[in-house]
Symmetry: D2
Subunit: 299 residues, 4 copies
Amino acid sequence: MHTVGFIGLGAMGAPMAENVNGAGYPLIVYNRTRSRTEPFAERGERVADSPCEVAQASDVVIVMVTDDEALEAVLEGEEGILAGLTDGTIVLQMSTVTPAGTEAAAEAVRDVGGRYVDAPVSGTVGPAEEGTLTVLAAGPDDLLGEVEGILAAIGEPIVDCGAVGDGARMKLFVNLLLGDMMGAFAEALAFGTAQGLDYEGMLTVVEAGAVDSPLFSIKGENIAADDFEPRFPVDLQFKDLRYAVEEANDEGVPLPQTAAARETFSAARGMGHGGEDMAAVVKFFEQVAGLSVGDSSES
Amino acid sequence: MHTVGFIGLGAMGAPMAENVNGAGYPLIVYNRTRSRTEPFAERGERVADSPCEVAQASDVVIVMVTDDEALEAVLEGEEGILAGLTDGTIVLQMSTVTPAGTEAAAEAVRDVGGRYVDAPVSGTVGPAEEGTLTVLAAGPDDLLGEVEGILAAIGEPIVDCGAVGDGARMKLFVNLLLGDMMGAFAEALAFGTAQGLDYEGMLTVVEAGAVDSPLFSIKGENIAADDFEPRFPVDLQFKDLRYAVEEANDEGVPLPQTAAARETFSAARGMGHGGEDMAAVVKFFEQVAGLSVGDSSES
Amino acid sequence: MHTVGFIGLGAMGAPMAENVNGAGYPLIVYNRTRSRTEPFAERGERVADSPCEVAQASDVVIVMVTDDEALEAVLEGEEGILAGLTDGTIVLQMSTVTPAGTEAAAEAVRDVGGRYVDAPVSGTVGPAEEGTLTVLAAGPDDLLGEVEGILAAIGEPIVDCGAVGDGARMKLFVNLLLGDMMGAFAEALAFGTAQGLDYEGMLTVVEAGAVDSPLFSIKGENIAADDFEPRFPVDLQFKDLRYAVEEANDEGVPLPQTAAARETFSAARGMGHGGEDMAAVVKFFEQVAGLSVGDSSES
Amino acid sequence: MHTVGFIGLGAMGAPMAENVNGAGYPLIVYNRTRSRTEPFAERGERVADSPCEVAQASDVVIVMVTDDEALEAVLEGEEGILAGLTDGTIVLQMSTVTPAGTEAAAEAVRDVGGRYVDAPVSGTVGPAEEGTLTVLAAGPDDLLGEVEGILAAIGEPIVDCGAVGDGARMKLFVNLLLGDMMGAFAEALAFGTAQGLDYEGMLTVVEAGAVDSPLFSIKGENIAADDFEPRFPVDLQFKDLRYAVEEANDEGVPLPQTAAARETFSAARGMGHGGEDMAAVVKFFEQVAGLSVGDSSES
């Protein structure tokens, strides 16, 4: 069985690594903040001092870091992956990065004889723990076949998105829709609240109709509970909307609703809610219109 | 068992009336175009020559017509419901009308000694046939209790929305969200298509994630099949977005995404797609950006 | 010389009436709040007790009231203009009303044998006092010729807009542009302020370029002076944007920027600035982004 | 009198260089496409083979190139300005570049002992020929004083915008407003045309009111003449709107109208009008709504 290196044991990475390990793969892990490796050490898994060391000891190196810059750093930094990569080793890139970022990483990996899979995931901490993330896999078919067992430990379904870069593009596609839906839901709730509708009644009607969506059920409850702990913060959702509009602009595709959503998320950030969960975009409407959304007792 | 009058045997009304009849209620039906009453005559149900005649013979009169004007006509016209209403008869208004329209109708009904329930439905022809429409019931509790059996024959759940007028408001709330979601889905699909993503792959990713929704599954398939037969046409969805923004403006609630969606639907109408299904809003993006959304063979 | 009746001596109407009088026309005036007629009584002009009395005594009756409802009231109310109109008397309608409102008024006037000119004005109190309002004249050429001297006393240029109704449409056209420009100016100033640019420097650059406009010079100074006394309040500008989008929707013309401006003005109203001058739309941006626009000492 | 180097003899640069020369300054010019230097050679001015040669022979080096990349190339390329810069020589940067681009250039110039002025211009070819560009000057006061005579030959007014970088920021501020106004004008004209208003009448009303602006007079005539020769093309205006929204997003300032304008310009590009003058944004509305804007004969 392949030895799997895992770099990046954050809120998402740690449970993903656990699931890979739970499926029987021996691990060698690395994290910048070393304390996050302790649970793995306690289970008897190996802890490395650098991405380079991980690369030297692995058949497949999973990277799960925050953004393009972090990916470049763990790859190309001193003591980086590239410095330790053995011929034929697979870098399985699962972070949310830009198409350009993942394409550049793929080229760098191939230049030193490695192989590369672009496979970001869609989902939050819950699905990461349950092993039910959507895996947006992109790369040559034989390579996808080779890492299939590992991916299956992390999520389901595994969607074949095409060539390297298309995983990142698919992630942007779904997050564009996610941001637009969150913004639209906030508008609808503000509208209904202003009209005096009962909050629980609104959620019931949404769940009973064609517009029903897990997103609305989860965020609807969070708003009612005044719980804005950041599962996916306004700042990150905003970044994705921003990036999606940029890419669309390059393609000559107008996105008027997405552009409007982006400005609403921007306003929510301007009002100080950037670090809260994306559902906090509703606070923009509450503050502008003097509403208390989610407060059933009030209506 | 109550005798139920049913006025308005259109695409929605006819299956609703059948379900009421199927639950054991004897019917007396009326439709402006008389041919639509034939299936009911064949089943042995009574056919009336006017709304007035329906009102005279019924304990509960269901009205399922197209808009405020039609509602006013069947109520207040010569040979209208009001002319035949017996003391205590219930008018069960289920059409999609404005809050002001249903409130005015309620007042007119009460003025002649009738009772009034505001209960529009959310859903399309499929759920109407299956008896699974969402019923947005509003009115006094005892009245809702009295018509419960009839409503249960038509749909599930029956959501208690509050006082007369709130059923219409709830309908507007959910249709605002519906329009925003359809517009957002069209933008996302145009974006993904322009990026070269596979259409089936996009649908799979949507269905696997928090953004999953019956709307996206249905409209996603329709677009792929180039099927824009109007289940709910662009013109009607546009009308609801327009009306929602108007109402929100009266309440001081800004709706930037909804306003953008409204203009996109307006553009789709300007381009000649008003009579097609709401999913045809995607054609705006196709025509502007020279894309063919839903054509998997092309990507 | 024609005797001119003048109904509506508000902030705009009073100086307009004075200019008509100053050009040599004898007046008979009416105002709901009678105290506003006193300056005219003191000059020896006749004061009427009702619109009807004005109509009986005039060759031309100018109406300058607030909206469609007020126009309908002075025309069709008991003691209204129609009750006193002599055959061939001209009603010169100069209020800002809807196309439908002015068309209905024209029909009512013609039904009793009167003649009708649709001639709203563009401009604020300053131009009203100076007799430099833009007159948006619409109606048959011979009628426009007959009232030319009166219109010339009120403003310049007198633009021939076409048939009755087109004056109102032209007013909406120019106020749509006005609202969009005010909103765009507020965005630009918020942008520049956030970037640390000097406020006076921004105004200088605007005045030196192709974007120069009297609007920006006036509102730029008002914002610097924190002067939001309502020359044209947010509420009225909002109403015009709202109405313009409605009309455009009827014509199948999308107006995405205007729709966005409308929502920004809506937000400014939601935040409590509806009664302030339209320049107060800048406060929306100040409050969202924590800026102080117009404060040169700060930058 | 200072010897002035001039790098970049494009449509804007050539007349600017002529005006500097006309004010008495001896020139040494460089252009990538050498043919553009011929008129200067014919007048007896010196032509250099490289930016380096220009720098060696000048007291002040004006750079007027297309974008950040071109600026970096003429500065830091082999045979670039930095390679020939003498201690104390002034680089007078007048291209439209980003704040970050001009700040990086300033640092590079200072690193080799040079001095740096950030002075982009606002205006098109006409004002460039007439020496009436608005100069957005930024840098230390003593330096601005030293180049005052040169700047005065190029334009008027010379607005002191602050520190290096603020010239670029001011340019973005005014171009944001320019794009929003052009988009708003297109919407207003489409609206009026759809309502049947006479095109010349609309222009007259605009010119008579608070919304009057040189931009509207020029573009109004261009549209009537069906003249979309690119003075400032859709592509460049779009780029500025795009960049402005990006910068505003970094500052937490929402720009809903500008974002909507950006998508309209994006749509105009998608429809193939990117290379035409910015006024061609009106074609988006014409194509969507089936209108012919500017065609007075039609109305």
